[in-house]
Amino acid sequence: MSDDGAGDDGDAGSDGGDADGTGPTPTPVSDAGYDEWLDALAAGEGYALVCPDGHGSLPPRRICPDCGSDALSREPLAETGRVETFSVVHVPSPRFADDAPYVTAVVDLGPVRATGVLRGVEPEGDAVEVGLSVTAGVEERATDGEPLVAFRPDDGE
């Protein structure tokens, strides 16, 4: 959780104006909470927000979506996760045009599940199975280099 004080309304600051006076430029969208989480995952320090009852969720969150508790604390994700379901995507959205075919998977990482692209396997239905043990990290989307939640088969190291 962030250390936001009372009265904080989540204003992230910049309004994206063209400060250098050279005209409008596209402002990269930032999502406070989510960006921080992705950076942590990339650094091998992925976490979930967990309430006293043990419900896990992903940021940004101010209350537990399961029980409404506002006492959320950061808990580390499991070092390896289990593939709960997957699909080999052949028809991508434009942002994944050069990534296809790829495997998308939902992985149980302890306090939460996460959805990402499973790499290091052949993108074929027979090459993956539910129950596969994987690690989670952040890699680049082939199409445009944007960061992406990625899983790799756990090599046991």
Binding site: D31, Y34, S57, L58, P65, E84, T85, F86, S87, V88, V89, H90, V91, P92, S93, P94, R95, F96, A97, D99, Y102, T104, A105, V106, V112, R113, A114, T115, G116, V117, G125, V130, E146, L148, V149
Partner: protein
């Protein structure tokens, strides 16, 4: 509680109307609904209109006043957005408004224009119904999300691609006589099996097409119908809605749709009926696996048993419980924001006996419609009954 009746229904043909503006499509559906109802436009007290991606497809927000103009009604008009369940929630609010006695006549329905966009943009647009941060950025497409549910279903309960191919083949067969359907062409089980993959285990014929179209219903109170001598034999006896966590991965079970369980429970309770009373169903089969999940949430089959219903001939036109006699989203087409209204239109005609497939359900008295948004983070269920 006042009894809400469907006085009239109107649809455009579903399919490609690439050169027609959305307002023109909705105008056609509304005109047909008024003609079917025999209710004058000036009696309409509210317009509830469903649309999902008009801002993307037509650069048009704030569509409700535009559609009120197009339909020729002058009354409070509101757009409802709940992804693929947009028209379902619009109809539900019409029913609630009439049932509460707040209006005697409400026009409800929806419109979606899709084929004017390149397929890649439609894919991107539909993905907006999923969680952008945690699903779309992770590569989840609309077919991909349902594929994740299909894999999870097969893993938990069994079933295989061929079971789903039977759902596709059934719904294509049902669409043959439906003049509003996009695909009036038979697809064999083998043809569906051999089609190219979209998001494994789902292949081309597991998926609904990209569709333009509009739907409109004239919903009236029973008192209004009696006073004005309007023939409205079909009542909306129950309505229910449910919500679930947005992202599939956050759900308790990856192969179930509790939002639809909740919607069904509420709709059945309001109607005073149960799953055993249902004679015919129109369900949200945006993908073949979705029909399976829908029929289980509606209680028509036990959890884990719905997958083989088409293959066993239970849900086919000549089966004990026909599902998607219209052709479903699968073959009739899925103009996203219009679909929920079109399901009620089809079911009304099936129950009135003037649908080309009414011959398969000659004694039907209770029908159920199931409309879902996203991966069923939103669900709306309506129970229709022959009232007189």
């Amino acid at each position: 509680m006042t009894d809400a009746r469907v006085a009239g229904v109107g649809l455009t043909r579903f399919g490609s109307h690439a050169d027609r503006a959305g307002r023109d499509l909705f105008a056609t559906a509304a005109e047909r609904a008024f003609e079917d109802a025999g209710v004058p436009r000036e009696d309409v007290e509210e317009l509830n209109y469903g649309n999902f991606m008009g801002a993307l497809a037509e650069h048009q927000g704030h569509q409700a006043p535009l559609m009120a103009e197009a339909a020729g009604v002058r009354c409070p008009a509101t757009r409802y957005e709940s992804a693929c369940a947009s028209a379902g929630v619009a109809v539900r609010e019409a029913v609630r408004t009439v049932a509460a006695g707040d209006a005697d006549v409400v026009l409800a329905g929806g419109m979606e224009r899709m084929t004017n966009l390149p397929t890649a943009e439609v894919t991107e647009g539909l993905a907006m119904a999923a969680d952008d941060l945690f699903e779309v950025r992770s590569g989840v497409t609309f077919p991909g999300a349902y594929a994740l549910m299909a894999t999870a279903y097969f893993e938990a309960y069994g079933g295989e691609r061929r079971d789903l191919a039977h759902v596709a083949s059934k719904n294509h067969a049902n669409a043959l006589p439906n003049e509003y359907a996009q695909y009036r062409r038979e697809v064999s089980v083998d043809e569906a099996m051999d089609a190219p993959p979209v998001a494994e285990p789902l292949h081309l014929y597991d998926a609904c097409p990209i569709t333009d179209g509009a739907s409109a219903l004239v919903v009236v109170s029973a008192e209004y119908a009696a006073e004005h001598d309007v023939d409205a034999p079909v009542a909306v006896a129950g309505t229910g809605q449910g919500t679930d966590r947005m992202a599939l991965g956050d759900r308790e079970h990856l192969a179930r749709t509790p939002a639809a369980d909740d919607a069904a429970e509420a709709a059945y309770a309001a109607a005073g009926v149960g799953p055993d009373d249902v004679d015919v169903a129109e369900v949200h089969d945006c993908f073949t696996i979705a029909e399976v999940l829908a029929t289980e949430s509606l209680g028509l089959f036990e959890v884990g048993e719905g997958v083989s219903a088409a293959r066993e001939g239970i849900t086919t036109a000549d089966g004990d419980l026909p599902v998607n006699l219209s052709g479903g989203l699968k073959a009739k087409g899925h103009p996203v924001g219009a679909t929920g209204g079109s399901q009620i239109a089809e079911l009304t005609r099936l129950l009135r006996g003037d649908h080309p497939n009414s011959e398969h359900v000659p004694d039907a008295e209770v029908g159920v419609a199931h409309n879902a948004g996203g991966t069923v983070a939103s669900a709306v269920v309506h129970v229709l009954e022959v009232a007189e």
